[in-house]
């Protein structure tokens, strides 16, 4: 089985979110970048396919040279080969177009991409890859088994989950549940040393337009104060729920 995992290079979840240049650009100053968590769940599941079913696992990213540290981390975790498409990723459709173009020429059985990146939260790249390449697609995937060309997956839906049968070639939108956070792997020294010798191929981007553009960013207004009610004062709690929140 030939697998490729799409890796987004995103600010760490604890990063302060600020903007510069008249609020038109994300302020990268002092920000640590990591593998997008939804992609990391997918990468770990791919490693299980590699270890239990002999799959090969490539990782791919659309980004400039500063994203190579993230790809090297994926290689240190155990991916076999990395590909970087040399382009600043500024639009989900354009990124999907770049990835779909590479993927369709390499005959992957399984394409794993996080259901969304935690920076722009577009939630479009895995579905657009599937749409552009006419591949099967399962989003919000929290379980996946593949036997030959047959795939059985569980998808998280609003208020529950559903079991889906499909087949390869398949694209999935990965998320927490596909593996648990406790299953995620921290690269060990041997993995880091081996990653230095693994191939990281840089290829040029193809021509593709941005279907949307960012104009500006805003930060939300500060949250209002929290009202704390003493556990001894239930009458006050009832009063607030009834007269202010109007929920009872």
């Amino acid at each position: 089985m030939k697998i490729i995992v799409c890796i987004s290079h995103v600010p760490d979840t604890t990063s302060k979110i600020n903007f510069v240049e008249g609020n038109t650009k994300f302020d990268r100053n002092g920000v640590q970048f990591v593998i997008n968590p939804n992609d990391e769940f997918g990468l770990t599941r791919a490693m299980w396919f590699k270890e239990k079913q002999g799959a090969s696992v490539d990782v791919i990213n659309v980004g400039l040279s500063d994203t190579e540290s993230t790809l090297r981390k994926a290689l240190a975790i155990g991916a076999d080969k990395a590909i970087r498409i040399d382009m600043s990723p500024e639009n989900g459709f354009n990124v999907a177009k770049q990835l779909a173009n590479y993927i369709k020429n390499e005959n992957y059985d399984l394409v794993i991409a996080g259901r969304e990146s935690i920076d722009y939260n577009g939630g479009m790249v895995p579905g657009m890859i599937a749409g552009l390449n006419n591949a099967n697609f399962i989003n919000n995937c929290i379980s996946l088994d593949i036997d030959g060309t047959a795939a059985t997956a569980i998808r998280e839906i609003d208020g529950g989950k559903e079991t889906i049968e499909s087949s390869t070639p398949l694209v999935i939108g990965a998320q927490k549940g596909l593996v648990e956070e406790s299953d995620l792997r921290i690269p060990n020294m041997r993995g880091i040393m081996m990653a230095r010798k693994k191939q990281l191929e840089v290829i040029p981007a193809i021509d593709a337009s941005n279907q949307t553009d960012s104009i500006e960013f805003e930060k939300p207004k500060p949250k209002g104060e929290v009202t704390l009610v003493s556990s001894e004062n239930l009458d006050e709690l009832i009063n607030l729920l009834h007269n202010e929140a109007k929920v009872i």
Partner: protein, 238 residues
């Protein structure tokens, strides 16, 4: 050029989000001096949408669409958009709609804006605010394509009841077979989902442990509310 809105239903009943989306589409239509066409799939009482500013309903009754299938549903919406010559399509941020959205965007050659939180601030080009950075920021985005697909973030727009003269039209769609099929659904039927809830009871780490979570469930049940929790509580598996 009608504004097309996908009004979701479950077991034949419209979800609350359907009326929110219809109201949002009505407001966009008013700003563009045009009409709203709603697409509903296997809804029991589609004419209910006449109370929310919808001018025309394309009613799809099709047993092949009994279970949600992203490819089949996106094909249906595409055919509806082509029938109505709609270049603005509005969908929700439900798991199903966000599943079908990128497939529809590719086939309709539409710029896709997910998690829109307000009405567009302009239409030439269409520009709208959306949430980003996991709700730590908003992004103002403009669309460069003629066709636009907007998914509205949950609870972003008020339901407005506007009684309208509405035409109801049965609409047939051609579904090409695909290789992805739902085998089973496991869903709590007696609980309000957060997507449909008017009230949410939420708790954080102040609860200390899972043994105290019962009071949140009980309060939610009494209020007819959904439950929610902070990310640390979710991560701890409480």
């Amino acid at each position: 050029m009608a504004i097309l809105v996908y009004t979701e239903s479950e077991k034949g009943k419209f979800k609350k989000i359907a009326f929110e989306l219809a109201s949002y589409a009505r407001a966009i239509a008013d700003e563009n001096n045009t009409t709203v066409t709603a697409v509903c799939i296997n809804a029991e009482d589609p004419i209910e949408l006449q109370n929310y500013g919808v001018n025309k309903i394309l009613n799809i009754s099709n047993q092949e669409l009994k279970s949600f299938n992203a490819i089949s549903y996106s094909q249906s919406l595409l055919q509806a958009a082509e029938n109505e010559k709609s270049n603005i399509i509005i969908i929700s941020s439900s798991a199903d709609s966000k599943y079908l959205a990128p497939l529809l965007a590719v086939k309709h050659n539409a710029g896709y804006i997910s998690n829109a939180s307000e009405l567009p601030s302009s239409y030439n080009p269409l520009t709208v605010k959306r949430t980003a950075f996991t709700n730590k920021a908003f992004e103002i985005t403009k669309v460069n394509t003629e066709n636009v697909l907007i998914s509205l973030a949950k609870n972003s727009y008020t339901i407005n009841e506007v009684k309208t003269d509405t035409s109801l039209q049965d609409f047939s769609v051609n579904i090409s077979p695909n290789d992805t099929n739902v085998k089973s659904i496991d869903k709590a039927t007696n609980k309000v989902t957060i997507a449909d809830a008017d009230t949410v009871v939420s708790a954080g780490r102040g609860l200390k442990g899972p043994e105290n979570w019962g009071m949140i469930e009980e309060l939610a049940e009494v209020l007819g509310a959904a439950t929610a929790c902070s990310k640390p509580v979710s991560d701890l598996g409480i």
